[in-house]
């Protein structure tokens, strides 16, 4: 599979500062995810947890191209998407601790992060379930004459669900301002891409719906950022929906339950050479844009941010059991 990834150079390069910021954000997410592993082993976090270690460039690159008015529909592997979108580690971690201060007041957990203010619409654990919702958000913008982008992130496995087919056709048919970002990490749980799809060129297939579609190197955050920027510009220009396949790889198992028996160690090792963080670090070092001191500072800042988030989550109260049935229906009822 791994050989199928065809890295593409981005056409334009963001500024040095931007690239440093992208690196720092990837580092931030990587360290956060590593902390989640520890917290899971000590049972502070429970349930299903899906990490994006190795895939940080997709979340960071995509979110870097969006404005605060844009909308995001994510997956259940969304810690990185949520953080890159601007959610605080505190609210995200508290949610995974099942605390009242969590973004979803402890009701959602790792797979169901939401932030209405940031227009981050989850956090959906039904594979493909977010696709029609993203189409609807874009439809609302179209009907209300708002020039906003809805970014819909989903995986190569979701591409096989009927929801993808129906949503892609609706978006193209109605010329909606939605950008489909497919995180192709070459596996759906233990099923390799070639066992999910007869035709594995996902961008080509997306194009057959009458959408502009292309592939970018999901292990190169600059390439992803560039692709996402082009996608957003394209949509803001009223050119309708588009599809970007981001070829990436998860270094860790699918979830904390996964023994990861279906991949060759060699394959995983091969992909580690494409790790988005060391790659960009080296480039920035060569460009003299990054010093060891900078890196050390980043690590220190991130370590502190994480420590604060963990402490806050630990200290946070639980939602009272009396609140269990709150939010099943809305509390404030207004005229339409």
């Amino acid at each position: 599979m791994s050989t199928a990834a065809k890295p593409r150079r981005a056409r334009t390069k963001p500024s040095t500062d931007d690239r440093v910021a992208l690196l720092r954000e990837m580092l931030r997410i990587r360290r956060f995810e590593e902390t989640c592993v520890q917290l899971y082993s000590t049972e502070k976090i429970r349930g299903f947890m899906h990490l994006c270690i190795g895939e940080e460039a997709t979340a960071v690159g995509v979110m870097s191209a969006l404005t605060k008015d844009d909308a995001v529909v994510g997956t259940y592997r969304e810690h990185g998407q949520a953080l890159a979108r601007g959610m605080s580690m505190t609210t995200v971690l508290a949610e995974m601790f099942g605390k009242q201060t969590g973004c979803s007041r402890g009701r959602g957990g790792s797979m169901h992060l939401f932030d209405a203010a940031l227009r981050f619409y989850g956090g959906n654990a039904i594979v493909g379930g977010g696709l029609p919702v993203a189409v609807g958000l874009a439809l609302a913008d179209r009907l209300r004459g708002q020039k906003r982008v809805t970014a819909c992130v989903f995986g190569d496995g979701a591409f096989a669900e009927g929801e993808f087919h129906e949503s892609a056709n609706l978006a193209a048919l109605w010329h909606l301002p939605v950008a489909f970002f497919c995180e192709n990490n070459f596996y759906a749980m233990g099923t390799a891409l070639a066992r999910e799809h007869a035709q594995t060129d996902l961008a080509m297939r997306a194009a057959s719906y009458g959408m502009v579609a292309w592939t970018a190197d999901g292990m190169d955050v600059v390439a992803v950022a560039d692709a996402a920027r082009r996608a957003a510009e394209f949509i803001r220009a009223g050119e309708g929906p588009c599809f970007v396949e981001l070829r990436t790889y998860r270094f860790r198992a699918h979830s904390m339950y996964d023994p990861d028996r279906y991949r060759e160690k060699a394959e995983i090792e091969g992909w580690r050479h494409h790790d988005p963080i060391p790659a960009l670090t080296a480039t920035l070092r060569d460009d003299g844009a990054l010093t060891d001191a900078d890196l050390a500072r980043f690590e220190k800042e991130i370590e502190a941010e994480i420590a604060d988030a963990v402490a806050a989550a630990e200290a946070a109260p639980l939602e009272p059991v009396a609140e269990l049935t709150r939010f099943v229906t809305s509390e404030h009822r207004s005229a339409p």
Partner: protein, 340 residues
């Protein structure tokens, strides 16, 4: 949460109309009053709606707001959820409840769940309309009554207009609900006609309605079975048994107060439900009556439901499978007989 004081009785009539015309008038009014409202579904536009409910609305409001969709139930219902999250007030039409199964994942796992799952951040002001019921010889893939399933889902409000007044008046308060509301239209009612209320906005979507007062037995029905219950009540009257007929109107949340209050007086209940008996809404009503009025019951709660078969095409078989007035009469008399 309705737009005016809630009142189960329809307002005084000024004119008469068909159920279909009442639904159309309600959609037209909502689209006129609120430009966030739009109608979306298969063939709602150029075709005029598979049951002609939206006939003429495309010409009036244009293709953006009377939006024909491809055959993609999951996607256009999910798009309705997204559009609601995006600030609009979508009315999504699914041709029949049978096809709604293709969208059930979106309805349960997204529409009904996201408010709670997001800790109260995201509500979904979506209205979904669909046809339900049998009686037109459409056979097993077009005739089932599955609204009871939807009434099982926390986070949804389920409406079943049985009268022209409710068909006319329930849509606006449904659109006023910040959460998802499903409206089930029994296919046999579209051509029925009745009085239109002067002020449709006075129709509530909270309570059941006593359609006929009585003392000896409570007959509970909704949607397509209300007429059956009323016919049975006439026949029972002729046999000296006074039946109270209650129209549920709202299948979720159920109006226990009205149901239990009636049974406390009549001491007997017959539930008429077009769904398959086992696991139908009638079971939940029976269970609640027993939980809340056990010591007031003079006889077991009776249920008259559809036979547990995929609905057959042949008229004589279909009619035999559906709840008939005679079955309701027999059930009521048996309760009394066993009692007396």
């Amino acid at each position: 949460m309705t737009m005016t004081v809630s009142s189960p009785a329809p307002a005084p009539a000024v004119e008469t109309a068909t159920y279909r015309e009442a639904l159309r008038a309600a959609i037209r009014e909502a689209m006129t009053r609120d430009d966030r409202v739009f109608l979306m579904g298969e063939d709602v536009g150029r075709y005029g709606g598979c049951f002609a409910v939206s006939m003429g609305l495309l010409e009036e409001f244009g293709p953006e707001r009377i939006r024909d969709t491809p055959l993609s139930e999951s996607a256009f219902v999910g798009a309705g959820i997204g559009a609601a999250l995006g600030g609009l007030r979508p009315i999504v039409e699914i041709m029949t409840v049978n096809f709604s199964l293709l969208a059930l994942d979106q309805i349960l796992n997204n529409a009904a769940t996201v408010l709670h799952m997001s800790g109260g951040q995201l509500n979904v002001p979506l209205v979904i309309r669909m046809t339900t019921g049998a009686g037109r010889q459409l056979a097993a893939q077009h005739s089932h009554s599955l609204e009871g399933w939807y009434a099982h889902i926390p986070g949804l409000r389920i409406l079943a207009p049985a009268t022209v007044a409710d068909a006319r008046g329930m849509l606006w308060p449904a659109l006023a609900d910040p959460d998802p509301v499903l409206i089930f239209e029994n296919g046999g009612l579209y051509n029925s006609s009745g009085p239109l209320p002067a002020d449709p906005a006075t129709i509530d979507i909270e309570r059941a309605a006593v359609r006929r007062p009585g003392d000896d037995v409570t007959i509970i029905a909704y949607g397509g079975t209300l007429a059956t219950a009323l016919t049975a009540a006439d026949q029972l009257a002729a046999q000296g048994m006074s039946a109270e007929v209650i129209d549920l109107r709202v299948l979720r949340p159920l109006d226990d107060e009205t149901l239990v209050g009636s049974v406390r007086r009549t001491h007997r209940a017959v539930i008429v439900d077009e769904g398959w008996r086992s696991g139908s809404l009638s079971a939940e009503i029976s269970a609640r009556l027993v939980e809340q009025a056990f010591y007031d019951l003079d006889a077991p709660v009776a249920r008259v439901c559809s036979a547990e078969v995929p609905m057959p095409y042949a008229r004589h078989l279909e009619q035999a499978a559906l709840p008939q007035a005679a079955d309701v009469v027999a059930a009521a008399l048996q309760l009394a007989g066993r009692h007396g």
